[in-house]
């Protein structure tokens, strides 16, 4: 992977020219049928969900969608989900569990929407519930970060068996601008913050927060999607061999080990 400044990856990840969630749905799956709404309040256009074929396998697909062009981007709320988006995702994941379908999540958001109504409808609770549901979901889940992986709003669709990142995607606890303005009261230090936050795909791989980095450039569009599709089919093939108990245990341990390597402790655990 070429050496590239972290802030340049951030810019690439945010670029309007990048394929969005719906592009991935169109290119990876067939016979996609969109399923709308959270059955509680509304349908969130920032999250697109439904059922499709991955090769010959029915799967549930949940994708964050930023939209193309000014008008669509606005109607998609620039890919910033509201609580009803996370609740729709939660509903579709439970549906997938019921019918024994694997779940593919396509993640691309600057973060969960920061709005008055989002708070009134429990943005924090919606994300928390998704995390609990995903951590115990008895069907395989693979999340692919295709652009921005913005904090808890991205993680809410990435508590998965495996998380893959595109080469130029970023995954971060906070935006570099937000980090710079909180720590140094200077948003212009975003480049420095981006470097310090270790938010590139390669960083995430080294931190063992993800399993794979998907190269972007050396293939044409069709070859890129068909390679990714083959990888998904193969990985679901092996994950599907696990019993639901073994699968959820494995997923728990996947997250359980994160952050345990770098702790100071005088005496041992209980």
């Amino acid at each position: 992977m070429p050496d590239k400044a972290a802030i340049d990856r951030v810019k690439t990840a945010r670029s309007n020219n990048r394929p969005t969630g719906v592009d991935f749905i169109e290119n990876l799956f067939s016979d996609f049928i969109e399923l709308h709404g959270d059955r509680r309040y509304a349908d969130d256009p920032a999250i697109v969900g439904g059922i499709a074929y991955l090769g010959s396998m029915p799967v549930t697909v949940i994708a964050m969608e930023k939209g193309h062009g000014a008008r669509e981007r606005m109607s998609r709320n620039f890919g910033a989900p509201n609580p009803e988006g996370y609740r729709k995702a939660c509903r579709l994941m439970k549906q997938a569990e019921k019918f024994g379908r694997p779940v593919v999540c396509i993640v691309d958001t600057s973060g969960a929407y920061c709005g008055i109504e989002a708070e009134e409808r429990g943005q924090g609770q919606a994300i928390a519930e998704n995390l609990m549901v995903m951590m115990s979901l008895r069907t395989p889940v693979i999340s692919v970060l295709i652009g921005e992986g913005g904090s808890g709003g991205a993680l809410a669709l990435a508590a998965a068996d495996e998380v893959w990142m595109l080469e130029n995607a970023v995954y971060s606890v906070i935006s570099p601008e937000g980090c710079a303005s909180i720590l140094w009261r200077d948003a212009s230090k975003a480049a420095e913050a981006a470097q310090s936050l270790k938010l590139t795909a390669q960083d995430a791989l080294e931190l063992e927060a993800i399993e794979r980095v998907i190269p972007e450039n050396d293939l044409g569009k069709d070859a890129f999607y068909s390679a990714l599709k083959e990888q998904l089919i193969a990985r679901f093939g092996s994950l599907s061999e696990l019993t639901p108990d073994a699968l959820t245990e494995r997923r728990y341990m996947r997250f359980r080990k994160l952050g345990t390597k770098n702790l100071k402790e005088a005496d041992h655990a209980v």
Partner: protein
Amino acid sequence: MSFINFLNKPKNELESASKLPPVASDENEPSKACPECHRQIPLSQLWANCNCCRDCGYHFRMNARQRIHCFTDADSFKEFDPELQSEDFLAFPGYKKKLELTETVSGEKEAVTCGTALVRGLECCLFVMDPYFMMGSMGTAVGEKITRLFEYATRHRLPVVGFTVSGGARMQEGLLSLMQMAKTSGAVQRHSDAGLLYITVLTNPTTGGVTASFAMEGDIILAEPKATVGFAGARVIEQTTRKKLPQGFQTSEFMLEHGFVDAIAPRDKQRQIISTLLKMHSGGGQDAG
């Protein structure tokens, strides 16, 4: 820097918590102004009243030790993992120094204190976050301590009571801080799947990644009066929406009104409310006491 003075006070000053001693008359005694009713409160009186204003009930912040002292039965708290702390594994600018300074000033090694305790004779696992340790931010040590506590509680079939206070995930530990949200949620889920009770008490402020994980995952969610409780920061929301925020936005009362909190629990009622809930879930019947 009144809160530094407050922190430096020896912990045995707190001994007679929840009983009201005579008002200290020493005019030289340091005091603190109540932000609500503006009365000057001598610090000894404030500590004796669990850091609440006796006149108007304003809830001041309190550190983890003081809260444990006020909430649990005397000498019943047994701490887990007191030595566990985060390291500056990303070599994040300024973090190592900040950790050292925070440890010196707060006397704590991390932003959460965990263990077992009795509340009116009922055993529970307890975690208490500390606003004086990097505003209760969640890094890898906080996530690990909370996960271990839930695992212990699941193994020993104990309920968990947790007091949250947090500015969110600790950015100096990058992505691995974020991952603690999923990790702790997994541990809470397993505890829940085992049929065990989890009560959270949201205190001022509970925001960000902690709100979006274990704070909002309780079977029963209580909140201290007028605490700030929300996901996104108020300033960020104002900047994003360019709207004026409504009165009382992101308070405990706002969360109650919108259905995300079960009840407001003032500090002086918490022992009673929570011990009653623990008892109701202990499989035993009601008794006269």
